[in-house]
Amino acid sequence: MSRETSAETVNIVPHVHHDHGHPHPKQPDLEDQPVRYHQLMAEAVGELLIEKGIIAADELRRTIEDIDSRNPAMGARLVARAWVDPAFKARMLEDFNAAASELGIETGAIPIRALESTPEVHHVVCCTLCSCYPRMVLGLPPDWYKARAYRSRVIREPRAVLREFGTIVPDEVEVRVHDSTADLRYMVLPMRPAGTEGLSENQLAALVTRDCMIGTAVPAAPS
């Protein structure tokens, strides 16, 4: 096969300086991807807002940094605290944003609600219309949460979807799907797994994954 003439190897860069001696596809740069309409629109609006002095570039950057700094460990801290402190749990169920603030997690103006899973009810969260998600305590949603497959199926056949996540909910338990269609955001407060009595709050938080707070998984005691 000739590298010079084969069309399908146009993007193949020979790696003769490596000891394994075979070519790799060229890793595309950001600019090699097609620019999409809404991406351009967002950049244009951002530039206009700055140009007109409505927001400063520095404010925009700080907001993006704040969004990027959010992650599921924040939600996990809240869950672990609720597990060890019943009074905190009560406050969290009453006013989630205020309770988060007690732990130094500022959640902004959008009200978040904790959905407490029990032996009778297993909660799972979705947004069938778009991708509403409690970003202030979980960070950006995973791609599957935004995909049509999850959004259209979890509301219609939640048990089949949960099974694909490896989560089997017994038939006598109610599966309750929450469709975040409007102004509230939802985070599942999962049940504390049995056999975790001796664990510290930090060790408990480590058991709480992102999916446990969406409701597609349940926390397990360390094996």
């Binding site: 038939d171 309750r176 799907v177």
Partner: protein
């Protein structure tokens, strides 16, 4: 806040298909549910989406539906449910004893 519906009340989602930015999912329209919680008053997203202020705030309800009512062929057990956030102007009271 004087809410139009009370917790536990049976309501029906309006079977309407207006154009625009509507936050009431198609699959819920025309279906009956029960008020699970009253979430508060919020600016109407159907107005906000078009640059209007949404000053007339709307009560938002958490409405619980039986999955078997939403999907006649629902395969799971009868107690499975869905809770959807729906604004008051999309809800109608269901008279006791009506079909």
């Amino acid at each position: 806040m004087s809410a139009a519906f009370r917790i536990g009340q049976r309501v029906r989602v309006r079977r309407a298909f207006p154009p625009g930015h509507v936050r009431t999912p198609f699959y819920a329209r025309g279906h009956d549910g029960v008020i699970d919680a009253i979430a508060g008053d919020f600016a109407n997203p159907e107005e906000l989406a078009y640059g209007r202020g949404g000053e007339l705030r709307r009560a938002l309800f958490r409405v619980r539906f039986a999955q078997r009512d939403l999907w006649p062929d629902y395969a799971g057990p009868p107690q499975d449910s869905a809770v959807i956030d729906i604004y008051e102007h999309w809800l109608e009271p269901v008279e006791e004893g009506s079909p």
